[in-house]
Symmetry: C2
Subunit: 569 residues, 2 copies
């Protein structure tokens, strides 16, 4: 083999070795690492003193790497328009440009020369081509070798690897968003803790959009102000009590119009409510704000009658890297939808519960309107019944329905005429026949309310007696539901111990004497003894004991608060 | 330059040209294309007669490409364990193996030789190395060149590109899933059409999991059967009426236990309900089934009291390519959560609406229980009031609340004593004073129900008169709400025209004579004339006209159905 044979064989050898190194570098999928190592390899191949790498982004060119001049690394990230000059010529040519005497080249703008500590004499300017399109450029300064073919090959390889790394980076970001949505969807299905759910959503809004803070504002229907409800970010506590006056700020605008608003620089937007920043000490630079909207239906109309209305907004504040993009808008809108669903479900549960409680109050009011003398009777009977059931170790679920049933046990008295209902003293047989209708009337009224079906046994059976002498059905023993047996004892206990316009309430001892006398025939003795245990432990009080307590002001209690959750609305 | 100089220079030139071609091939991100083109390039470089490409998948090796022998392409996809043999030796060596005489090599199992139409003499077996790990191999048969360095370089390059293409393919799949979730979340917030939402979810389940069909089953609470609710797939219509008996099938198992079940081969799973396939003609091979669970709260108890319970399941049937993986499980569970949220929200809206309608029925029943003689009065007044409001072009929203208010206008009569309420003839001043309390009592009762606040003006003002001589407030003219003025006319019209136990209803002409006589002093004349217009157009009928119609059986109408949506429950 000749000398030149050897030289060329060596060259081939060297080329393959370089390509193997390029492969090793390319196996990394980290964008930054890839850029740095590939630039270093190209500088080495060209034996250049320094090198720079630019990437095209939209209509700009961004300086993305500098090697050979540490001081100039501070310039990384600098952005300039794609106008004339050597760089632009490189993009346009789509092939390497060699400039031997930089100083003499008109296209070279030395003020743009990034490298301050290297004397720039010559440059090899390589476009990074991806399927024929320039996606960036590498400039190698003062190179010993400027045969460009291998360099261009590696440059293009780099363009391809960069593109894939970028796609993968973007894919990773979207994967994080997918995971977050999956997580939030899972949460929404597994808890009703509205605050916790909103915190998860707002945390993810901040994390996935890469912003300094995120806030969720809800409209205060009274004042029209927007009140900060949940936030994520450094000033979490400081801004906890924030309130934006009606119609003010970008939040106000978004909530009023239902539009999404993206403000890259709030100092340029007159809608920005600067006072919020003064209050919080948080310097807002950029905002992405999306509306929160939920629906309401008109109760009692056809299902399709619903209206969407804005109940607040979500803001992402200060994008840390870059600017908000379309993906960010879509994600924040999606998170807002999820937050709105959380709020809607919570409100629906609250609505149906509130309506239910209201109805019980209204029915109680209807009983009271009919017979004001017995006011408080229903609530006391409920309390006694619950106390008995607790002594008997009944399930919370059973007790829950018992409580409501007992509150409503006399609702049928609405249909009993006043001369019978309010008659002092004994009833004639005819009058008593009318009075005995009230459990059935109660069942007729409440039978319409499908959510009160489990309460019906208490309503219909609270005047049955163990020996079958009760009404309306004359049921015997265990044929009477436990709820009915318990309420019968509770009802009798209150009737005996309470004052009525025509007679004073009897002492507790007398009441228990009578209940025990009736145990086994009229009353279930285990219920009677359970009430005794509850009473003697101080767990329940008669009407007269309450009145006495109220007079001495020892306890500013209301009858309502004693009946537990049902009346707490 | 010597001849050999030229040869080597030519070799370098050729190498770079090949690398440029490899770059062009690598710029594709389509996995299949990449495999085919890279294999072709290697065959060309080696001047081989044929080539095969294998990829490692878990513990198997999959034949992924064949070139040079079309007949053998049918074998693509064949899978074999990573055991001994030349392929395995190649993986283990981590470097190219050259076998000059295949027939003499003990490692070569000719029965495994994929190529039937090429006489296989020699092979260059190249591992595809990704960061030192073999992820596949290429075998080049009968090559002219077997200097492996460039081939190995390109092989490794290929491994790296394959890996990235795979990652991108996977990323694309996840991106499709992200988009679908975003789309579904958007839908959930923007419509209450439960069926449409579930169809979107089930369509996406089928599309994203790549299955032949997907089905959503809901538990029928009566029978415990699972009823097909929504499905996506070829047999959509044929299986529309499918029903799986209680506890049967994988659907039954999943719904009962709340477990996710993945069955790769249903013929091996005794839980599979084969009758479903017989009914539908759909041959189920594999199933992924996840439970649907929603929550219920105990109404009237504290908010935290909620229970999760399974209401059905979602099945994905027959994965088309490959088998169900963890991503599929997570996605289907997430879609099930979304479907559950849709069902939960729909149920909540239905619940609150149902409860509302029930309450109105119950309160109407309570009025009827008090005074059965006026049965039907409330519904007729509501109908007359709505007819007047429609003639006056009131908004649908106003009419909605007017209808409900009018149905309940007399609810306060519950609190009026019977001797007053049912007294035939004129009332004494004292009795009339009690009667005049009913609007206020009505307000007291309904004041408890926050969702009935807009109905209150009708309740409280339906006995006010324009000249201020009405009760309870003695309001004048426009100070009386329009709802109150309308209901006053509707109420009077029904009172005049209806039969009562103590007198017959008067003719319509007389009713309008009286209403017009009172117009301007007692009644709002525009309301009176609006009623006349509605009546004379045949839009409303009096109690007597209805009774007459019912007797002649011309129209089997019920009073309830005339009052519109409110009473349609």
């Amino acid at each position: 083999m000749s000398q030149s044979d050897l030289a060329i064989a060596h060259e081939l050898e060297r080329t393959l070795a370089l390509l193997e190194r390029a492969d090793a570098i390319a196996s990394s999928t980290a964008l930054d690492e890839l850029i740095q190592q590939m630039l270093a390899l190209l500088i080495e191949i060209a034996e250049a003193e320094a090198g720079t790498l630019y990437l095209v982004e939209d209509e700009s060119v961004v300086l993305s790497a500098v090697q050979g001049d540490e001081a100039s690394c501070a310039l990384i990230g600098a952005r300039r328009p794609r106008t004339a000059g050597l760089l632009n010529d490189t993009f346009a040519a789509g092939r390497p440009l060699w400039v031997e005497h930089l100083a003499a080249d008109a296209r070279w703008d030395s003020s743009l020369g990034e490298l301050q500590n290297v004397e720039l004499r010559s440059v090899l300017s390589l476009p990074l081509l991806l399927q024929g399109q320039a996606v960036g450029a590498i400039q190698l300064f003062n190179p010993v070798h400027h045969e460009a073919r291998l360099l261009q090959l590696l440059g293009n390889r780099m363009a391809s690897e960069l593109e894939k790394a970028r796609l993968l980076e973007r894919a990773k970001e979207r994967e994080a968003r997918l995971s977050a949505l999956i997580e939030i969807i899972g949460h929404i299905g597994s808890t009703l803790d509205r605050t916790q759910l909103l915190e998860v959503i707002m945390h993810n809004a901040r994390r996935l959009l890469g912003t300094e803070a995120s806030s969720l504002f809800l409209l205060d229907p009274e004042s029209g102000d927007l009140v900060l409800h949940v936030s994520s970010g450094p000033l979490h506590e400081k801004i906890a009590a924030m309130r934006v006056p009606k119609g003010q700020g970008i939040a106000g605008y978004v909530t009023e119009t239902g539009e999404t608003v993206l403000v890259k620089d709030v100092s340029q937007d007159s809608r920005h409510y600067a006072q919020a920043d003064q209050q919080s000490g948080f310097a807002t630079r950029s905002i992405l704000a999306v509306p929160l909207s939920t629906r309401t239906i008109s109760l009692g109309s056809e299902r399709e009658h619903w209206r969407e209305h804005n109940i607040g907004c979500i803001e992402a504040l200060n994008k840390i890297e870059g600017t908000f993009d379309d993906d960010d808008v879509l994600l924040l809108q999606t998170l807002a939808r999820q937050a709105a669903t959380v709020l809607e479900v919570a409100k629906l549960y609250a609505d149906v519960n509130e309506l239910f409680l209201d109805v019980i109050q209204a029915l109680t009011a209807a009983i009271d309107a009919k017979d004001p003398y017995t006011e408080g009777h229903s609530q006391r009977v409920a309390e006694f019944a619950v106390a008995i059931a607790q002594q008997l170790n009944c399930s919370p679920d059973f007790i829950h329905h018992l409580r409501i049933g007992a509150i409503l046990h006399d609702v049928g008295k609405i249909g009993v005429s006043d001369q019978v209902l309010k008659k002092p003293g004994y009833l004639t047989e005819e009058e008593f026949a009318e009075m005995r209708l009230h459990p059935v009337i109660g069942q007729t009224i409440l039978g319409h309310i499908r959510t009160l079906q489990e309460e019906l046994p208490v309503i219909i059976e609270h005047h049955e007696r163990l020996d079958g002498s009760g009404y309306p059905e004359g049921l015997q023993g265990q044929a009477i539901s436990l709820g009915g047996r318990i309420t019968a004892v509770a009802d009798a206990f209150d009737a005996i111990t309470s004052d009525r316009p025509y007679r004073a309430g009897l002492p507790v001892e007398e009441a228990f004497r009578r209940l025990r006398a009736g145990a086994g025939t009229e009353f279930d003795s285990s219920c009677v003894e359970a009430l005794w245990k509850a009473y003697s432990s101080g767990l329940v009080r008669t009407q007269k004991e309450r009145a006495a307590l109220r007079q001495t002001d020892q306890q500013p209690t209301s009858e309502l608060s004693n009946a537990g959750a049902v009346s707490s609305a």
